[in-house]
Amino acid sequence: MAGFMIAAAAALMAQPPGPPQPPRSAKAAAPVDLTGNWVSVISEDWRWRMVTPIKGDFASIPVNREARQVGEAWDPARDEAAGLQCKAYGAPAIMRVPGRVRIAWQDENTLKLETDSGTQTRLFHFAPAGGAPPQTPQGGEGTWQGYSIANWERAPRGAEIPDPVPIFSVRQGGQGRSLEVATTNLRAGYLRKNGVPYSAGTTVNEYYDYHKERNGDEWFTVTTIVRDPKYLTGPWITSSDFKKEPDGSKWDPSPCTSR
């Protein structure tokens, strides 16, 4: 009897507060607004980001021996001759490149992120309202920005076991506030401008977290986890901080450079 009552109470608590809501688009469901103009503030890794690092400098990146060999053979002139100036502007690296980003909804389920440094465009594909998650295209050559699948991160759970009617537990904050992005289908490039390599098999997981500070400044911090079975000994984890600007007046497009 007591078990029944507890289960009933828990079931009552599990009821949604109102009638079922129709599926919403990613734009309508956004828990935070990441759109606008943002500038990267270089308070970390200054001498590896604001200037081209010294050849053979792999500091802070968990590279393996093969990556060191490739990095020590870095030749920017060779990249220029091959038209590969954008090798250090791919998705695994672009959020560490000093510059400005512009974020806007391309449509109801696609968020567009543009960079002025290297004039790159990233598209974050959400599942359409009530539809299946987007599928990564199969085959074809990788690109600098790859293919990105996005969602608004759900509250963390220890395992993917459904628990629709919790007993003796209550979940609060069923939806997180983070934008979660998973990127694959990449073209091989550089993690840093001095030729630290990543392979085409690299995957990138990102989490964009919005925060507002006491002085009213708005920021987002993106935690980036790069996995590369070819050149890294483990995940490479960085987090990059961007401050919101009132408009796009400081937007300064510039092409990719190798040096």
């Binding site: 270089i42 308070s43 053979g56 400098d57 984890i237 960085t238």
Partner: protein
Amino acid sequence: MKRMVGLIAATLLAAPVWAQVDFTGEWAPAYHEDGPERLPGPELGDYMGIPLSDAGRLRADSYDADRISVVTEYQCRPHSSDYGMRGLGNLRVTREIDPANQNLVAFHTYMPAWGSMRTIWMDGRPHPPAYAEHTFQGFSTGVWEGNMLTISTTHLKANYLRRNGVASSDKRIVTEHWTRHGNFLTVIVVVEDPVMLTEPFVRSENWYLDPGQKLPQMYCEYAAEVPAPVGSVPNHLPGKNPFLTEVAKWYGLPVEATRGGAKTMYPEYRKVMPKPINPQPAKCERFCVCTTLADCNLNETVTAPGGAPAPRR
């Protein structure tokens, strides 16, 4: 029956303050940003990426690395709660639950570096009045913003922004934002220091869950390491510190950039950055990998281009 269901439901619903995300556990730091600064330690005169005020820069310029060896009070000086997140930061987080109502009362953190223990109050208590004691860990309260834990810390003692003499004042206020993504923890630390900084100093650090981690207790013993007259404090008077340009020479950087300041932290600075006094070395020779203390090559014997000796640590 109806009454009992209502009673049980009311009991389960009574707790107003849940941990929306549980940060408890053993966390190991990823030194994947600024490894050489955070592991063996920063170069003297490296203020890059810090929005230093003139006062903050003057204070940093006066620093002499012998200070810690001579002034024993410095030797066991703990890392403050804000610097600790950037420094040598293995971390344990536990939480305190009120057994009477299962409310979250506080998170507690422990970092082995100087045995730093800290409490982040989650029960809505106010900060103490301004005249209350200042400590290295300060007084912290937290609130939830969705699944982000936002922490405000006041009543801090003066400490480090970087452990090469870049100081923080006891007037600073620190805001942190903790987020957990799977088994990764990201902590954004925002330091507002009206004395040493011209704008908020925003950095973010990352940890990964390491359930097997066992943290040691740290004991610190004072010992005079360098003979010096009693009461002396090694320092450099304004304009007299000969070591401040070494980092620029060593890495082929403009001296102005190494001096920090807000203007050097924005992308447009790259267009107006002065030329370096020494060319960049052709090949990296110091701290070339550096993701752990084990792989961070000090290589103190290398001579910088232009003949400058290796920066002192």
